[in-house]
């Protein structure tokens, strides 16, 4: 079955610290993978996507993600977190003509 797992429900980091949000997927074929961010009361904003090619993809706001087929993972990283990064982050895989989302990771940033 197609699924996405985000193991961490909440993550707290200090401003300026590095960040890694985990995402594991289950999908039979080569996946199309996405990371979205949702700020409070807002819709979803696409951070980055992976379709093929280079397994390290760069996104907006200084985020990057690495696709690791052997681990079925697509972890999101940022070298230095800013207070404005506090939000909910969703990993998604393009399933059978629809997105399959993970349950999200809420990021809290300490000043």
């Amino acid at each position: 079955a197609q699924s996405v797992t985000q193991p961490d429900i909440h993550i707290t980091v200090s401003e300026g610290a590095s960040l890694e949000l985990r995402c594991n997927y289950s999908y039979g074929a080569t996946p199309y993978l996405f990371w979205y961010v949702q700020s409070p009361g807002q819709g979803l904003q696409l951070l980055l996507k992976y379709f093929s090619g280079d397994t390290l993809v760069q996104g907006i706001k200084g985020f990057e993600a690495e696709f690791k087929r052997s681990q079925s993972s697509f972890n999101l990283r940022k070298p230095s977190v800013h207070w404005s990064d506090a939000a909910e982050y969703f990993c998604a895989v393009w399933g059978t003509y629809k997105y399959i989302f993970g349950t999200g990771t809420r990021l809290k940033v300490l000043a």
Binding site: Y32, Y36, Q42, G43, L44, Q45, L46, K49, F51, E88, F90, A92, W94, T96, Y97, K98, Y99, I100, F101, T103, G104
Partner: protein, 114 residues
């Protein structure tokens, strides 16, 4: 337009009342998707359209939910006889014909059933 528009932003209905939500996809986008987000986490796919045709409705609770995308009109999602469990944020997304996997999301409609 260049953004997916959803109206209203907030909707409050008493249990048993009807709720109707609207979505205007990005101009030129042929696919429209509806998702339900409950409790700020889980996104559930409801239905998708290719132009005015239903493409996939496997996520729709058909007994009370219906949706349409008619030419030259916003798409709509209607819930007859709302229940408390329908309280959620409903997101609409659109995509181009040949890149259905690149979806652009609207800001959502928060439905509160009391």
């Amino acid at each position: 337009g260049e953004e997916v528009a959803q109206t209203p932003k907030h909707l409050v209905r008493g249990e048993g009342q009807k709720a109707k939500l609207y979505c205007a996809p990005i101009k030129g986008h042929s696919y429209v998707f509806w998702y339900q987000q409950v409790l700020k986490n889980e996104f559930k796919f409801l239905i998708s359209f290719q132009n005015e045709n239903v493409f996939d409705e496997t996520g729709m609770p058909k007994e009370r939910f219906s949706a349409k995308c008619l030419p030259n009109s916003p798409c709509s999602l209607e819930i007859q006889a709302t229940k408390l469990e329908d309280s959620a944020v409903y997101f609409c997304a659109s995509s181009q014909y040949d890149r259905g996997y690149e979806q652009y999301f609207g800001p959502g409609t928060r439905l509160t059933v009391t």
